[in-house]
C-alpha cells in the first residue's frame, strides 16, 4: 500500500473530493496546513516596498491506496487539483507497510 500525500489549494478541495468519489475512492483524511513552495512565497508590492507572504494556507490530503491504484489516484488528484498556476502543490508517495481497521482490529491487504 501507499500513502498518497497531496498538498493542494484549499479552493480545489471540492473538485478533488468529487473526482475521487467518481473513482470510487472514499477513504481519506484532510489536514489544514500552511505551505511554501518553489515560488518562495507570494510577493506583494506596496508603497514602493515589497512584502513577502511566505506561508499560504493549503490543504493536505492523505489517502492510503493499494499499490495497483497508486498511479490512477495520483492522476485523479493531480488533474482535479490543477489550475496551472504557481502554488498548485505537490503529491508525495510514501510506502505503507500495514493498514489496520480499528473497528475490527483486522488487517487490510
Amino acid at each position: 500500500m501507499k500513502l498518497i500525500k497531496a498538498i493542494i489549494r484549499p479552493e480545489r478541495l471540492e473538485f478533488v473530493k468529487k473526482a475521487l468519489e467518481d473513482e470510487g475512492s472514499y477513504g481519506m483524511t484532510i489536514l489544514e496546513v500552511n505551505g511554501r513552495g518553489d515560488q518562495k512565497g507570494i510577493k506583494l508590492q506596496y508603497r514602493g516596498g515589497v512584502m513577502v507572504v511566505d506561508f499560504i494556507p493549503k490543504v493536505m490530503i492523505e489517502v492510503v491506496v493499494k499499490d495497483r491504484d497508486e498511479e490512477r489516484i495520483i492522476r485523479v488528484i493531480a488533474d482535479s487539483a490543477r489550475t496551472g498556476k504557481m502554488g498548485d502543490g505537490r503529491i508525495f508517495v510514501i510506502p505503507v507497510e500495514r493498514s489496520i481497521r480499528v473497528r475490527t482490529g483486522e488487517e487490510d491487504t
Binding site: E11, R12, F15, L44, M51, V53
Partner: protein, 398 residues
Amino acid sequence: MVLDTGTTAWLLISTALVMLMTPGVGFFYGGLVRRKNFISMVALSFIVFALVSIQWVVLGYSLSFGTDIGGFIGNLQYAGLEGIGLDAGDAGYPPLLFVAFQLVFAAIAMAIVTSGIAERVKLSAFVIFALLWTTLVYDPLAHWAWGGGWAMSLGALDFAGGTVVHISSGFAALAVALVIGKRAGFGKYTMEPHNIPMTLLGAALLWFGWFGFNGGSALAANGLAASAFFVTNISAAAGGLAWLAASWIRGKPSSLGMVSGAIAGLVAITPAAGYVTVTGAIAIGLVAGLLCYGCMLWRIRKDLDESLDAWSIHGMGGLWGALATGIFAVAAINGYPGLLEGSVSQFLANAAAAIAAMVYAFVVTFALAWGVDKVIGLRVSEEEEYVGLDISQHGERV
C-alpha cells in the same frame, strides 16, 4: 425651550447604541467572508466610522441639514458645525446632540455598502470612494427626507431611515459590486462563511443597537419612542421566523437565515417605526423575511456577486419598508394615515421618494465607483486577492 433631561438622556444613549452598530456590521460581515478577509471587514467598519465622523463635522451635517437649496441639498451654513449650540434648542435637547445622532446614521449607511466590495477592494481607493459616497450620495438623500428637501416637502415618511440609510446603502452596494466585478473564483467554488458565531454576534449587536436607531428617532423619550421600540422588536422577530420557516421548507433552518430575516424585519420597520401598530409591524416583518430571502435566492441564481447581500436585505427590505409605511401607517399612532386608512397620496409620496432614492443611489454610486476605478483602481491585484485582504491590505492575519 427648557431642556428635557429625560429626552436628552435617551438621545445620548441612542446615539451610543447606533454607534455600536457600525462595528456590529463589521462583525456580521466579517463572519460571512473567508478567514483571510475577516480583519479587513471589521477594519473597514472602523475606518468608515472614523472617516464619516470627520466628514460629518466638516461638511456632511451642513449638506444634509443646512438651509435647503432647490430641494436637493443643504447649504454650507453649518460647515465645521458653525453655530450649533449646546442649549435646549427648539425641541428640548441640545442641537449638537442631534448632530451626533445623525452622524452615527451616516456612518452605518456607509458601512453597509462594504457588502458589495467585500474581499476585493483596495483600501486606498475605498477611502476615497467612501468620502465621495457619503458626501454625494448619503448627504443629499438625508437632505431630501429629513433636511427640508423635496421628499420631505412632498410629505414622504421615513421615520428612521429606511430610504436614507437602507435603500441608499443597499442599492449602492449593488452598483459598486457591478463595477468592481465578482470575486475571483465566484461561482466556481463555494465561499462559505468562515465564522458564523461572529456573524451571530454582529446580529445581536445590530438588534440591540436598532432600539436606539428606531426608538431614538422619536427624538423624545415618550410614547412614540416606546411604540417605535416595540414594533421594531416585533418586526425583527417576525422577519426572523419567516425566513427561518422558508429556509426550513427548502432545506435546513439555518441560524444565518434566522438572523438575516431578523435584519430584514428591522430594515423594513425602520421607515415605519413611528407610524404603525403592532399588527402592522408583524405583517411588515413577515413579508420582509420572505421577500428578502427570495431576493437573495434570485441574486444567487443570477450569479451576481453582491457578496454579503446588502442589496437583498437592506435595499429590497428598505424598499418594501418605504412602501409598507405608506400602506400600514395609522393616524392614531402619529397622525399619518396610510393606504389602508384610505390615504392614497401618502402611499404615492412614499413610493416616489423611495424610487427616486433607489435610482439616485444606484446611478450616482455606479458613476463614483466607475470614476474611482478608472483613476486609481478600485480592486486589488489578483495575487493580493488570493492571499486575502488581511495580509495584503493590513499586513495582519487572524
